[in-house]
């Protein structure tokens, strides 16, 4: 933080963010989760697919802190590896949605007219399908797997970003400094990339953070319905689905993977809310 100029926007944002205890907590949880995902092979006591049928349905113990599942696989190890899947899907799906939705929204907002109409009516149609249903259909069309799950969740989140960016662009495009840039002969692409997008980054970053939570949730939901990551790869939602046949006797099989999803979503919500308050005090509710 010493390296930043004292009155720069980023510095002020970070200072404000640090005052928000919940946001700091969220940031820490996400950092821990990120490290867990990166160092999963070192941290996990067992491999995620190691089966040991003799040890199936073991309740939590020292050897298996969170117990074992129906195949005798260590639940803690599977949750640790599952962090890789959830974070990847969350981050990449939102990046995809942000990039493609952002470009479409920027074009629609900047050029207006028929182009705006066509793009936004298409987005309206996508909006009329509940996101989870859209993601389910795309996931079915693409087939199972990490990459396809990411694309499905990303496309389902795309219209939101298109709308946000379009709105933000519209609020800026009429201002004098844009006109000035145009008078100086700047190209449209330059104006959008250099002058417009940086000035509407706040709502995009805030939505991005909150949307990662939604993407992780959607990915877990798809796997829960059997349309996302396929076993034996560990995905928290998939693990939850796998536990459903054993709820009566082995409740811990369901409790821990669900807890992992819940904590992740909560941390991202804290962080997103904190960022919203810190980046733009006007947005504070």
């Amino acid at each position: 933080m010493v390296l930043l100029r004292k009155n720069s926007n980023l510095y002020l944002t970070l200072v404000r963010l640090r005052r928000n205890r919940l946001a700091v907590l969220g940031l820490w949880i996400m950092l821990i989760l990120l490290l867990t995902a990166v160092f999963a092979p070192l941290l996990a006591p067992y491999h995620y697919a190691t089966q040991n049928l003799v040890d199936a349905f073991e309740p939590p113990s020292w050897a298996h802190p969170l117990g074992t599942d129906d195949f005798g696989r260590d639940i803690l190890s599977r949750i640790i590896y599952g962090a890789q899947v959830s974070l990847q899907v969350g981050v990449f799906a939102v990046s995809l949605a942000m990039l493609s939705g952002g470009v479409l929204g920027a074009i629609a907002g900047y050029y207006g007219g028929h182009l705006d109409d066509v793009i936004m009516r298409f987005m309206d149609v996508l909006f009329a399908i509940p996101q989870i249903l859209l993601a389910i259909t795309i996931a079915a069309a693409l087939g199972p797997g990490l990459m396809n799950l990411t694309i499905a969740v990303g496309i389902a989140a795309l219209p939101t970003f298109a709308r946000i960016v379009r709105g933000a662009v519209l609020s800026i495009v009429g201002q004098e400094y844009i006109e000035a840039a145009r008078c100086m002969g700047a190209s449209d692409a330059w104006i959008i990339a250099k002058h417009i997008l940086p000035n509407c980054s706040a709502p995009i970053i805030v939505q991005g953070t909150l949307r990662v939570a939604q993407a992780i949730l959607a990915a877990a939901a798809l796997s829960f319905l059997g349309l996302g990551i396929q076993p034996p790869f560990p995905e928290w939602g998939g693990m939850l689905a796998g536990s459903r046949g054993y709820l009566r006797d082995y409740a811990y099989m369901a409790v821990f993977p669900g807890l992992a999803i819940m904590i992740t979503i909560m941390a991202l919500n804290f962080l997103g809310d904190g960022l919203r308050d810190a980046m733009d005090p006007k947005l504070k509710r």
Binding site: T137, F224, L225, V255, G258, I263, M266
Partner: protein
């Protein structure tokens, strides 16, 4: 409405037409003869190009009110929808009623007693409610209320006792958001001068809160409720799956798994139309709540 229906079905048609898997094979089984497979494809138009099929679909829907027949059960999709859609609507209406009544009540109390224990505890629970996936919450409810306490059944949707858990499960995220929104919206209004005036003229506190304050805090709350209602229709897919409820959502998921495209199209079409109607209803509600909007649109 009609453009939305056309758009939604077109997107679905394109998505489903690139979905791998042969519907004829899946509907007739592995040992079906090539002849019967071809017969099936001809009967359902699967041998035609996707644009032709889409054209026929739109024509039949518009002229004959026929949106196709299921590949698997061979029954008309409209009939299947008539069986399952009311269940989903019941689920969603029950959930939004729970969410609205409880959410607004909690929100109002939190705003009146800001920073009290009740306020703090409610806000923590609301944060948990927003962060818990409904399918996890449903499983936790089953674990606690069905397996442990044996109070309520864990599946089905016929009797009232079967409906309570799904309603509450589906309503939880919306209830949390409505509580937070009501609280912040009420807090903004409650400090205005006219509220002080109302109190100063000796108005009863209940009238001040429920009439003067709430009526003016209502617009953002109604917006959120409308958005949440739309989300509930999507969330009902997961709730139906957790509690084995025979609704449209579960039908759609099963339809996707068995490549029963007409069913998927019908289900999504119904949900999308319901979605559009809800948005329309919310817009009408604004005018009813806010007289200023009413006068603006009177010509």
């Amino acid at each position: 409405m009609i453009p939305v229906a056309l758009g939604v079905t077109f997107i679905l048609f394109s998505l489903l037409s690139v979905t791998p898997g042969d519907p004829a094979r899946l509907a007739l089984g592995e040992d079906a003869s090539e002849e019967s497979l071809n017969e099936f494809r001809r009967e359902y138009g699967l041998d035609r190009s996707f644009l032709v099929r889409y054209g026929f679909f739109v024509y039949n829907a518009a002229v004959n009110q026929d949106i196709g027949r299921s590949y698997v059960t061979r029954r008309p999709v409209a009939g299947e929808m008539a069986n399952t859609f009311p269940v989903t609507l019941n689920l969603a209406f029950g959930a939004i009623t729970f969410a609205t009544v409880l959410g607004m009540t909690f929100g109002i109390i939190c705003a009146i007693k800001q920073y009290s224990i009740f306020d703090n505890v409610t806000m923590v629970i609301a944060m948990l409610g927003i962060s818990t996936p409904i399918f996890y919450l449903g499983i936790l409810f089953i674990l606690w209320f069905s397996v442990r306490l044996r109070w309520l059944p864990s599946s089905g949707f016929d009797t009232l006792s079967q409906r309570i858990l799904p309603w509450i499960t589906l309503s939880a995220p919306s209830m949390s958001i409505i509580t937070r929104m009501t609280r912040s919206s009420m807090l903004e209004v409650i400090r205005s001068d006219y509220i002080r005036t109302a109190r100063a003229k000796g108005q009863k506190e209940s009238v001040v809160i429920l009439k003067h304050a709430l009526q003016n805090a209502l617009i953002p709350i109604v917006t959120i409720i409308g958005i949440q209602f739309g989300l509930l229709l999507g969330g009902s897919i997961l709730t139906e799956s957790v509690f084995s409820i025979p609704g449209v959502g579960r039908l759609a998921v099963e339809g996707i798994k068995s490549r029963d495209y007409p069913i998927v199209q019908g289900a999504v079409l119904y949900i999308a139309i319901a979605y559009v109607f809800i948005n329309l209803f919310v817009d009408l509600l604004y005018a009813w709540i806010d007289p200023r909007l009413r006068t603006r649109y009177r010509y």
